[in-house]
Symmetry: C2
Subunit: 724 residues, 2 copies
């Protein structure tokens, strides 16, 4: 049994008058969405290009729209079934009636984030290709603007959803702050479910197309990437949009919202004395900090300007300038926020914000170190091609495994600093709140990080269009430069997301523990006076231990399932592409057109079929484990899943990133360049790494949080019925 | 703070008179060693073969002896340094004076187990090759006898060491049973340290030689395996002996002894009322059960007979018959043992024995399912070669990850059954004792399992000799049949070892927790009356949590280090073999002899250099973590390391096994057979899998236990000095 929360003490005279800072949340949401509309118009003003470019872009757009429509139909069925289940649970009293609807809105906004981003990405790809005819800088402007739309749609819709529910429940339905945060946690579950479908489905689509196209096109037929003769080439470009853009949007929406609601819930538990004041400073801090983050990053995105003839290095440093400005501005703004909200005795919580920001920066740096070909590790992977594919595989796998060490140590340092600086030694609740706040700190610059992240796929698509439309080779060189820059910033963004994901998962686990304690008291007071349940979270309690083991296994099983899905889907593409090469006469000579639509359709069907099982696993595992082992086992499971999931996510991201960049390094003319044996080996490495880094890794990150949120929503059920 | 151990209750009238069953331990030790001597003479009676065979065998023997001599010299330095450190710690009162010497004997006997096994293996390889000239069955008899020597040396020396220390400390030095088991735990640490050196050093040697030889020989030069023109071929054969035989012997010695001493220590904690009787029934049970296991398996090994012209299937079923007989005999014998020792109220502990045996059988079956080419998973890996190396890699990796699910669920079931059947619900101490007993149950048939495990390398070597001595192709076919049979039984044995390793690691963690509790009481009573320390093992305590994260990372880091070591060492071999092909004129035409010794020397130097760092990591990590995070953090670390280490061990073993057998499946004529593109891809898969399954995986298994034992030995230091 956990120690009862102590009164954190301290006066609160400064706080009450500032509770209105909560208003920053809807303001920031409106600003972000306004900035999105402004940017959309900016992008659409650029010319779309020649008729050929437009025709190719239209094919990509149609494929992407068709996939998204069919995917959202499948997901809608899932949400309908879950809505029924949740309504039944509400009817029998396991949940309040807000939960089912909060769940649905979370899913809806998450889907909308992905949809808007994808819509714009499929409009910006042709414009980026056309802009690259003029200059690199112009190309960056278009693609980065498209990325910004994605980034600020995510944060804007996230804050809007949070604000609406907060004001609605608190001021219209007059719920207490504890019930408000509990209901808000369940829209996190909706967002996570949607995100997992989007990531897994989109990830399988994009990597099946990519791997399938490469295996037959590059390796067997010896034609270049994005060659229009390859029947899978449109599917490959569709994949960039539905996986890397729409999938990532839904994913980061979930991370962002999850971190904020988890912190709010922990704030309620840590500062029970504020729970009767209208709004609580402990809840206001994460919400307001997110709002400040949005405002700061909008300003920062105006700072990212370069001269017309800027080099790639200058571009990168412009991006860095924007990120650094945001981080520093948030560090400055958070200090008065914490001080005036919670008083001087809780200023230690500011330490949590700083430790989160610093850990994020540190993880980003080490991700770059391990995956950029400017540093030793990726160079060593490239060198290993000299002794063949086998040593390349060994080197890449071990790089990924080794690269888990520093990020986990940074996260551990951040946990210890956040916990103890926030006063966890005397009051565990405060310490856990600190961990949540550090995750919010890490994610507060998300708008910008995500913009950095998502212009890469747009540039990648632009390159594809340039190749297919046989534009000037200089255009392709420029889009490649943008794409390569995007690869580095994307890897960095991924590291950030995984770090924040781990901290968020921990905050959610803490929220789950609180939830169980509240429920136990609630059931004993209202329903069944004889009801008794004791949390026994000792790690040597066998139910905790067994849960821990099962949880540690889940990311392995999950990775295996998603990898196999990509493998299966890719093999189907290989067979189809080979068939078209064989059966369509004149295709290889460029006299006949390939049947692109069939490959798109094949990818769509594979992705939709294969995305179901992993998602159900993520949802069912904590419920089934809970019904057998009880809440103690669930907590063990969540911890084990977070610990081993973090390692698997980092390992897959960095092995994949290093293989990809080792290939690019060789293509740049090292170790014999394109066409050499070293290059052939590197293509194999890249092909293995692709599903790891773009399907499995990012999905694991969602898995961690989804399983926590599912546990929270089904807490009452598990508490009532369990075997051990 | 853990609940105080309750009095387990129950009468003990039956027990006292039976304590003498402890005598079974030295009796079984003597029987086992007698059986070893008998079997050695049996093997040596077989003819060694022609002059050419003798000359090749002599080269292998010399290489192996040279490596072992140099390896043991390095290890001796390590033991000397540790001896000094432990003596200093004894002098300042952190340890009793028996500990440093127990540590050294553990290392000595572990090394001796490996040494004896290797000596006989290098004598039996030529004899097996020669015997295969007559018949398959005769070849099996020689190689299986050599394997039996290894198996029964391990269990014989293990029980001898245990018996000597037990009788010495208990009856000569008149120590209480609690001090006896505490000292015995530290010879486990000696054994584990030695085992890790042997496994990592031997594993790097063997796989560097194997991978290096394959990469240049098979892939580049296109000459067959074990072709005498390949300069690395002798090193490859030396590797089988120093890695697969000597390394495995030291490894399983450690597992065996570790499980028994951990159970004894938990028995002391669970049954405090017995601690004043001379010998305790709770300590007698694991020791006597191990003794019974040895006697049963000696009988069983006489049952393994086949007709002169037996098929491979008949051979396999003969082996299975022996294993099943032993398991059933132990299940039968354990019942009266538990009943008469502990009385009817503790008969539930018998459930622990059965659950351990069943889980072992289940893990063995699923390992076979995932790694044998008779079943779907490995067939699917072989099929994936049709679309190239990349899909083969994806399929194999996902197979390994997926195969973690069932074994961990079996271990979890075994934990729950052992814990609750033994009475853990009312008295956690009894439950933990049950977990220890289930590990002993799983390992009680070790003599035979290990014999099954270690005839494979002998047969492999025999095949190498047959090839090099240009014996009749039929001989090679027979040794290949033995080798392939050995592959399956070895994979099964590996699964067994990993399962028992996880249970043993848990028992050791429980022993560590007891140790801390005893030390706290001891320091407060004798040294410093103001001393206070509370174990707070809640999984949401940040020191436990951070420990858990760091522990989960260790197996990843460790795997990365050992993999990279193999990769580096293999690259050095590749360069050397290429040099010899280039510089020694007439080598490829068979007119000049390769410089085998140089490759052996290169492997030796690489292995010795590379084995240091991983071993130091395993020893330093729990000590450094302890000095920072304290005992709570150490326990988190050990748990995290056990959970993620189990997954990594299973994954590496099964991915590697499946790739190996997929290659063999293709070589048997499927998908185009030898020389086809599918075969080339399969060779790459096997090369990647080799270090995974033979270096990394088995070492992780030792890592889990070594880190627990190190924690136990350094408990007083960590308890006295730590930051958090």
């Amino acid at each position: 049994m956990r120690e009862p929360r102590q009164d954190p003490g301290g006066t609160f005279f400064e706080g009450v008058s500032l509770v209105n800072l909560m208003i920053l949340t809807p303001i920031a949401a409106v600003l972000a969405l306004g900035f999105v509309v402004f940017t959309i118009f900016k992008v659409l003003k650029f010319p779309e290009g020649s008729a050929e470019v437009r025709s190719i872009a239209a094919k990509i757009r149609q494929g992407a729209n068709a996939f998204i429509r069919r995917q959202y139909t499948v997901v809608a069925w899932f949400f309908a079934v879950m809505l029924v289940i949740l309504c039944v649970m509400s009817a029998v009293g396991f949940l309040t009636w807000f939960v089912p609807f909060a769940f649905v809105t979370g899913g809806f906004f998450s889907a909308l984030s992905g949809f808007v981003g994808m819509k714009l990405a499929t409009a910006a790809n042709s414009r980026t290709a056309t802009a690259c005819k003029d200059s690199l800088n112009k190309g960056l402007r278009v693609s980065f603007s498209a990325g910004s739309v994605m980034g600020f749609t995510v944060v804007g819709l996230g804050l809007l959803d949070l604000a609406i529910w907060y004001y609605l429940l608190h001021y219209v339905f007059k719920l207490g702050i504890a019930e408000v945060t509990a209901a808000m946690l369940t829209f996190g579950m909706g967002a996570s479910s949607m995100a997992l479908f989007a990531r897994v489905g989109g990830g399988i689509f994009t990597k099946a197309a990519d791997v399938g196209a490469d295996l037959v096109g590059k390796v067997e037929a010896g034609i270049p990437e994005d060659d229009p003769r390859n029947p899978a080439v449109i599917a490959d470009n569709v994949g960039d949009n539905v996986g890397d853009v729409a999938g990532m949007g839904a994913d980061l929406y979930e991370s962002y919202v999850g971190a904020i609601v988890a912190s709010c819930a922990l704030g309620v538990a840590a500062f029970p004395q504020f729970n009767d004041t209208p709004g609580s400073p402990a809840v206001t801090i994460p919400m307001a900090m997110a709002g400040i983050g949005v405002i700061v990053t909008i300003i920062a995105s105006f700072l990212i300007r370069t001269k017309e003839n800027a080099t790639q290095k200058a571009l990168l440093s412009a991006l860095r300038r924007g990120t650094n400005f945001s981080a520093i501005a948030i560090a400055v703004a958070a200090f008065p926020l914490v001080w005036f909200m919670l008083g001087r005795e809780h200023i230690g919580i500011y330490g949590a914000v700083i430790s989160g920001l610093l850990a994020g920066v540190g993880i980003a740096f080490f991700t770059e170190y391990y995956t950029s070909d400017n540093y030793k590790p990726t160079r060593a992977v490239a060198d290993a091609t000299k002794t063949g594919t086998a040593t390349l595989m060994i080197e890449g796998l071990s790089l990924g495994m080794m690269s888990t060490a520093v990020p986990i140590l940074l996260v551990c340092a951040s946990i210890l600093v956040s916990y103890f600086a926030s006063g966890g030694a005397s009051n565990p609740g405060l310490g856990l709140y600190g961990i949540g706040i550090s995750a919010v700190g890490m994610l507060s610059t998300l708008g910008l990080t995500l913009a950095n992240d998502s212009y890469g796929p747009v540039a990648d698509n632009a390159g594809g269009i340039a190749e297919m439309a046989k534009m000037d080779p200089e255009v392709r060189q420029r889009t490649d430069a943008l794409d390569s820059l995007g690869n580095t910033t994307a890897a960095v963004g991924k590291g950030f997301a995984i770090g924040a994901g781990a901290l968020t998962a921990l905050a959610l686990i803490a929220a789950y523990i609180d939830r169980i304690e509240v429920l136990v008291a609630d059931i004993a007071a209202n329903t069944n006076p004889d009801f008794e349940f004791f949390l026994d979270l000792r790690i040597d309690n066998p139910t905790v231990l067994v849960g821990l083991f099962i949880g540690s296994m889940l990311p392995f099983l999950f990775t295996a399932m998603t990898m196999k899905s990509v493998g299966r889907a890719a093999q189907a593409i290989v067979v189809e592409v080979r068939r078209q090469f064989r059966e369509i006469t004149g295709l290889m000579e460029g006299k006949a057109e390939a049947d692109y639509a069939r490959c798109v359709d094949l990818c769509t069907r594979s992705a939709l079929r294969e995305m179901i099982l992993p998602t159900l696993l993520a949802i069912a595992a904590p419920i089934v484990t809970g019904l057998i082992l009880g809440p103690n086992g669930v907590i063990g499971l969540l911890m084990g899943c977070t610990a081993s999931g973090f390692m698997m996510a980092i390992m897959t991201a960095n092995s994949g990133g290093a293989w990809d960049n080792a290939k690019k390094y060789i293509e740049a003319g090292n170790h014999g360049g394109k066409g050499s044996d070293a290059h052939k080996a590197a293509v194999v490495g890249d092909t293995v790494g692709d599903p790891l880094k773009d399907t499995c890794g990012p999905s694991i990150d969602i898995l961690l949080k989804l399983s926590s949120m599912v546990s929270i929503v089904f807490a009452a059920l598990v508490l009532t019925f369990h075997i051990f």
